[in-house]
Amino acid sequence: MAEVSKVAYQVMWNRLISVVEEQAQALVRTAFSTSVREAGDLSAGVYNEAGQMLAQAVTGTPGHVNAMADAVPHFIRRIGRENIVEGDIYITNDPWEGTGHLHDITVVTPSFHNGALVGFFACTAHIVDIGGRGFGADANSVYEEGLYIPIMKFADKGEVDRTLVSIIRGNVREPDQLVGDIYALATCNEIGHRRLIDMMREFNLNTLEGIAGFILENSRRATIERIAALPNGSATGEMEIDGYSNPVTLKVRLDIEDDHILSDFDGTTGLDKKGINVPLVYTKAYACYALKCAIAPEIPNNAASLEPFRVAAPENSIVNAIHPAPVALRHVIGHMIPDTIYDALDKLLPETAPAEGAGSLCNFQVSLRPRTDEPAPDHAVRSEVLTFNSGGSGARPTLDGMNATAFPSGVMTMPVEATEQVGPVMIWRKELRPDSGGAGKYRGGLGQYMEVGAREGHEFDIQAMFDRVDHPARGRQGGKSGAPTTIAQDDGTAMKGKGKQFVPHGRKVMLAFPGGAGYGAPASRNAEDIRRDLAGGYITAAFARDHYGMSQADIDDVLERAKLGEIF
């Protein structure tokens, strides 16, 4: 084979990034679960023959970053290289060898060119139901959390395993949706594969060895250069959050060395009895994500650019749960890892890390059914509806936090109109929550209000997955805390932040999601920004007076002009 030019490698790297992006887009367009098609809770990547990840789609969420990078070697080991043949499709939802809970299905497809194995495509999607207790925190072990699919062949030489499909269909609440999603995952790998082979033909390649070396060497060098430019040092970070029944302390020590950064979670609380534990792959994903954002944001994810970010955690701590610990809601704790890391990083690299934010996504799932207290109307149905929602992000060293915007997660919310088409759920309110962003020179992002009920004739269970009820986001450099989460029924009945809870016919759940914390002392906030906050109702008059010392005359003036539609 002729020597490949430097320019050709430039082109091929570009091409592979485009290929995985297209793979992810195909998944969005063919998936059935709202979590994938509307919210983008997915990821997609291409690997060399050894199972090293070469490129990962930007579309998707950081929680899958390292987990995806690690997954393919597990598949190669379990299936056995000698059993990998053209036309195969592999599947798993193993929390430890996939992406952290049974609700993520990972599908891997080997890529063959001229009869030889040249690489793999993998993709992951969060599905709405996998049977068991349903998506929630209440299980005592992973066995209760739903159907487990070990790493195995979904299709053998192109032939789909009917037995497996029957078992899956018989064990889940929304079998059509799940089977449809598995097909969608297989389809998206197939699309990636076709494009890869086109590229190999165009550049006359027999293997990916040359281009893989080029990508991995350049990525490793670039990442290590960034790390080497930082001062060596060590610092600890700590954050307490709600947990399930008892508060959880997340603790990390960050060691910045010449060629790597270690995040060591020694000292973190042990396993919880309920399903909020985190397999290490998921902890690694968010630790790594937090550091990459702060240190090397533009370096794409691949085996080499991820390697210098090392993570350690004691076995059976809540951030390194071992089988059979329940892990369904690993995101609730996992999404808090970046704020913990930033608590340490702020001591090493001041004016880089944001203040604490809402952290976890404010997700909930409702299981609707015909009312049981009285005869239900004929049109009443059963339905599972999952929604993704966000609180406010923490204020940045030079910017306000973002209102109702996911951080660190990368998923989107679903349109209310689409959610209400899925099942008989009613979203009565979904709007910003004034006064919830912590005061500061830069204000925390606002959380949001939601009110959730059911259509006439239905009752439901709500699976709550909320944190920051008792532990609101803390400010940095004098910034104030964000508002905590609140949850109750519209008649005042108290509810818990986590767990499955019954809501009778005619009742609504009133939710207030947390705000991000402020950065810097409130006294140094620009008067102009305070006036704009008041005019838009991001803060109330009382908040402006109490936190920023705004005079009554100023308040009246701003509110009067705001009422006339003036722009501030």
């Binding site: 430097k6 570009n14 929304e174 960034r226 370096i299 990368g410 709007e431």
Partner: protein, 697 residues
Amino acid sequence: MTDAKARLGVDIGGTFTDVVLEHGGDRWSTKVLTTYTAPENAIIEGMHSVCKNAGVAPSVIGQIIHGTTLATNALIERRGAKTALITTRGFRDVIEMRTESRFEQYDLNLKLPDPLLPRNRRYTVTERMEATGKVLMPLDRAEVEALADDLAAAGYESIAVGLLHSYVNDAHERMIRDVLAERLPGVMISLSSEVSPQMREYERFNTTIANAYIKPLIKTYLDRLQDRLKTEGADCPIFLMHSGGGIISLASAAEFPVRLVESGPAGGAVFAADIAARHGLQKVLSFDMGGTTAKICLIKDRTPKTARVFEVARTYRFKKGSGMPISIPVIDMVEIGAGGGSLAHVDVMNQIRVGPESAGSEPGPACYNNGGERPAVTDADLVLGKLDPDNFAGGSITLNAGKSAEALINHLGKTLDMDAMEAAWGVAEVVDENMANAARVHAVENGEDLSEYTMIAFGGAAPLHAARLCEKLGIDRCLVPVGAGVGSAIGFLRAPFSFEANRSVFMKIGSFDPAAVRTLFTEMEAEARGFVRSCDATSDILAEYKVYMRYSGQGWEIPIALSADEAANPDAETYLKLFEADYAKLFGRSVEGMDVEITVWSVNAFTPQEAVDPVAAVKAGAEAEPVARRALFDPGLGSMTDAAVALRAGFEPGTCIAGPAVITEDETTVILPSSRTLVAQADGCLDMRTNEENARG
């Protein structure tokens, strides 16, 4: 006397206003600088100029077809009217909360774009529809009246109304309009159920607000334009190009100005579609590359591909999600930040990156010798021998190749251990690859195989890059038309009168209701035909029918075209079969045992396109006389070649030339690599084919 056949096409672009007059089978065109404060001035100047050249008075013009970036620019520059939103209580912040996600995941200092309306201009009323259209909370007229008084006190000029699920039931939106019309006479009103009756509140509300926001501006402009044209002697009907590639009346455009967004590029696609028709081409990829962006569009059977949603005013490096979504029928184009002025740099991974940052015209690429120090695509093209330093833009600028080489070495070569030539090769390959990737993704998303396509290349920079793009995409044939500099304005004159009516109505194949479908299609067809009839009182009107289908539970639909008969006599089985076939074509396999549903229905009414004069293919005749030879880099070969230089002006039908060659003209340069041969056609198009294709004849 007006002459119905004398038509004026006018395209207001960011820099130039292009004016084209067609009269008695001839065409005159001109470019005048856009006059931002009063855009009609440039039109008047251009009209007089082309009329003078044609030796006719403006009174001869029978129709004016107009497209403009004014709507797009007003949205980008936030120069709209004082506008309020009225929405359902509990949903005040839909346009601010967007998708609750970050379009760039690794930027800790990300700034989300501000919503079009600040929070204190967003108002709510107590009301609620169920997803089925059933009224859960009736709207109280008194509440709307009280709100109307507040709005009057605040002095709003325009009001957008967007209520939840109004795409199914618009009763409450209509009631609000009635009250506002009564209490706030003269204030403009836009209802979401009329502007964009589609599910997904963020897109629908944003589209409606965008419409309301630019409505006063566009309406006064159009009124002014009509008056001025009349005073200047052109007292004829004026029509507007819309984003979907058709023409609507001035009145419709004033009512739904958001439909004018991206009308200029739409004209370019129609221009390419017309050339495709003349040359009898069924599958065409139009490629329009200018100074800052490139646009790519698929055209099948003379019809550019359309979509139902797109994004304008991107705030962050053209990044998807950083702009605002507009859901209206639109020609589906991929636009990327790749043009002659796009700047190159090396990133931390030692990868060459090109664009979207552009050198613009000030200081311009390094070779303009105007203070630009960073290498642009034009610098790479110059070093590779694609441009003649002494004959650029008709000789108006002398390019400095030394400056290009210096910029390439300083910014790329030193880091990557490349000389100027290799760095230039890298820049050209990366920008061509970026465009090729965009085209590939677009084709695959539409289930198309580009190797069956012919490219039509226009815009100043396209002919320099078209052949390489063809090589990368496996496209055998490319046409480079004449008049490409005013392509959009010519396209306006080729566009049909058209209007697309859409409805979001959910129907499962399992509970298909033929009677309801017939009623739906009849209603939509009447609406669409009505719009077209208001433009043309006599012409035949044709209609196209589409349904958007998916497996129940999926979120994204695929469009399924129906024949008139299939729309008139709806049948579940037929619709299902059509869907399964298209689905399998797009995604490789259909899904077993799933219910299928229809979500959106559409009828597009349009006037038939005039039969075009086919351009008979001309075989290769005399070889072009080279005026010089120069060194030209051939990226396909990875080496320098000795290329003939010929002048396009001297080409007759049949003139042919084999690559490597460079064909120069005032507006652009056509690059012909070693893999291709070119034959001039009767209409002046240069027909570029692979040597194998040509050998086959």
